[in-house]
């Protein structure tokens, strides 16, 4: 091969990649950096001429975000995130297992797959208000409950309402993301396990589950990141009674124009996702040598 050809081809790749890198840097890293910087600045509501902050380094915003009533909001957000993630991944795993491991049921599978993708693609507003109608006092769920002669339940304005709606959405993400790691577990490994004397459940626990663990971790991270950053769902289904971190970011940015405190909330939200990613990777995956 000719040297100049190599350079020409190689530099074209570098050029195209550089465009992507520069765009990504400008539109992701720069705003992220600005957000981080703002979170250390001082709120100054009386500066005038549309300026509400002063570029002076302070940890005051973080002190605010991580104490008192705001700490409760952080904890609530993480709790909702954990509940939704565990519920969604647990419910989705058997579904993904069925998709990946069983031949046949082709038509049923196609139908379920379309439903999952549709559920993933339906916009947040439509989904949330659909759930609103499901969960109102006279809604479908309460109609079902009263069929059994039970008392009506107040869903709207509770954590449960948010979690129900979120889990339904997350299940589409979790199922779709679990199918391929489960497909990657060689069926011959399960057969080897059975031929050596392990019945179905033992084979699942010894072979399939540990080998699909990286997929479970990846799927959980995705679900957790999506559910802790929920914004519209708590706003509508929480009816203002349940506030999550995203709602605080919104409030401080748009209602109060306290950008530094809003930014600190946003950074905490980001860190929550990053830390959970780190913990899951290090703690869970180190136990399985794959």
């Amino acid at each position: 091969m000719n040297v100049s050809n190599v350079i020409r081809r190689y530099s074209l790749v570098v050029f195209v990649a550089a465009v992507g890198v520069i765009l990504f840097g400008m539109f992701f890293l720069v705003p992220m950096f600005l957000l981080l910087r703002t979170s250390f600045w001082q709120y100054a509501p009386n500066l005038g001429s549309m300026r509400y902050m002063r570029p002076a380094f302070t940890l005051e915003n973080y002190a605010n975000v991580l104490t008192g009533a705001y700490l409760d909001i952080d904890i609530l957000t993480i709790r909702i995130g954990l509940v939704c993630t565990v519920a969604a991944v647990t419910l989705s795993y058997p579904l993904a297992y069925w998709f990946a491991r069983y031949n046949g049921h082709a038509n049923l599978k196609r139908f379920v797959l379309i439903t999952l993708i549709a559920s993933f693609l339906v916009g947040t507003i439509a989904r949330v208000f659909a759930w609103f109608m499901m969960l109102t006092g006279g809604g479908f769920v309460n109609a079902l409950i009263s069929l059994f002669g039970l008392e009506r339940v107040r869903f709207l304005g509770t954590e449960l309402a948010i979690e129900l709606c979120q889990v339904q959405y997350l299940m589409s993400i979790a199922t779709l993301s679990l199918i391929s790691p489960l497909k990657n577990v060689d069926p011959r490994l399960e057969e080897a396990s059975k031929s050596l004397g392990a019945e179905e459940i033992r084979t699942f626990l010894n072979v399939t589950l540990p080998l699909s663990l990286p997929g479970i971790v990846a799927s959980s991270l995705l679900c957790f990141a999506v559910s802790v950053s929920a914004f519209v769902t708590p706003m509508v289904l929480g009816k203002g009674a349940i506030l999550m971190v995203s709602n605080m970011v919104y409030t401080y940015y748009l209602d109060i124009s306290n950008y530094p405190l809003g930014s600190a909330f946003a950074v905490v939200l980001l860190l929550t996702s990053f830390i959970s990613m780190y913990v899951l990777e290090k703690v869970l995956l180190s136990r399985v040598r794959i």
Binding site: E191, S195, G197, A198, N206, R289
Partner: protein
């Protein structure tokens, strides 16, 4: 005692019928190879015995005990796969110990037996390696150890060597055979490689379209193939169609294109008058002078293969005879255009069903 018996097995995938009433008996301690092209049903038969394919009809007996209604994990059958199927998240030790832990053996007995099994496959000292740190051949030997350590009633091997390169394959063939001889385990070995079948087996069953074409010792299969398919599958050869005719106490075979070939009475025995002769290329000798039962021809093509050379020899107007000769000395290498006589012993013609 029979080590394995399958009786009238019918099996299908969806509507695709793979086995139609296949029966096979294997004496205890024997090494039997299922040999056939892909799609012939050999792997399906093995999976029926292992319990992963449920036959629509038929029975499977292991050591004269019926097992076809048992799930795979109750059959106590050793299984070795083509892709090794070692558990990637376990060390070599844990892979081999897997079946023993399920059998709730004590720790010391488990490690004794694992050590023994690793010695048998000559991989002592590899206990702590993960499968990905082992070569293909080593992985396959660990897979053997894992299958043998549970002291299975029979051993099933599904094309265990076909992912390995030729040298390693030749080596592991002999190793598997020697392990089998040591353990005296009834073994069912599936392969599409006829050399493997011939080298390792006590008996070879040649399969085609789910039907056993011939069952016999490797020499019997090679020297007396039952039909054209078996003859072609376990080797190559020259085919002559024609009819027998006895002239002056000599048994002759007159081919449809007019050649006259002398055949021994033993070979003729039992065959129809109109038959097919099959002559392996290495049985044919090439000479400069005419002998009894020899045909004049011209060498039309020479393929030099190192230890041997393959010659196409044009005999008569339109027939090419394939012959293989050892090259013991370069002067013996013939060249195209040489006028020669081909001949073979009246005992070397196999009579096959067409």
């Amino acid at each position: 005692m029979l080590g394995l018996e399958v009786r009238d097995i019918h099996a299908q995938y969806g509507t695709n019928k793979v086995l139609n009433g296949l029966s096979l008996k294997v004496d205890d301690g024997k090494f039997v190879t299922l040999l056939g092209p892909s799609g012939c049903g050999k792997t399906t038969l093995l999976r029926v015995v292992a319990g992963f394919v449920h036959p629509t009809k038929g029975e499977v007996y292991v050591k004269e005990e019926r097992v076809d209604r048992d799930p795979p994990y109750k059959r106590n059958i050793g299984l070795v796969f083509q892709n090794y199927a070692l558990f990637p998240h376990m060390t070599a030790f844990d892979n081999v110990a897997y079946g023993l832990k399920l059998r709730k053996l004590s720790k010391s007995e488990t490690s004794d037996r694992v050590r023994e099994a690793l010695e048998l496959v000559r991989l002592s000292g590899y206990e702590d390696r993960l499968p990905r740190q082992l070569s293909g051949g080593e992985q396959q030997r660990i897979a053997m150890a894992r299958a043998l350590v549970i002291r299975p009633r029979i051993l099933l091997l599904d094309e265990p060597l076909s992912n390995l390169d030729l040298k390693l394959r030749q080596h592991l063939r002999l190793e598997i055979k020697s392990i089998q001889s040591k353990t005296r385990l009834t073994t069912l070995y599936v392969t599409h490689d006829q050399t493997e079948g011939l080298v390792m087996s006590d008996q070879v069953a040649v399969l085609r379209n789910g039907v056993i074409q011939q069952l016999g010792s490797p020499t019997h299969i090679y020297e007396n193939p039952a039909n054209r398919f078996v003859a072609d599958f376990v080797g190559e050869g020259n085919v002559f169609e024609g009819r027998f005719s006895k002239q002056d106490d000599v048994m002759l075979f007159i081919t449809d294109d007019g050649l006259s070939i002398q055949v021994s009475e033993d070979r003729r025995a039992g065959a129809e008058e109109k038959s097919v002769l099959y002559v392996r290329p290495e049985k044919i000798s090439i000479g400069k002078v005419s002998k009894v039962n020899s045909l004049p021809g011209t060498i039309s093509q020479v393929v030099y293969e190192g230890p041997t050379a393959r010659y196409s020899i044009r005999v008569g107007p339109s027939r090419d005879i394939l012959a293989v000769e050892q090259i013991s000395d370069m002067a013996a290498l013939r060249s195209a255009g040489d006028k020669v006589y081909v001949s073979w012993s009246p005992d070397s013609s196999a009579v096959v069903a067409s």
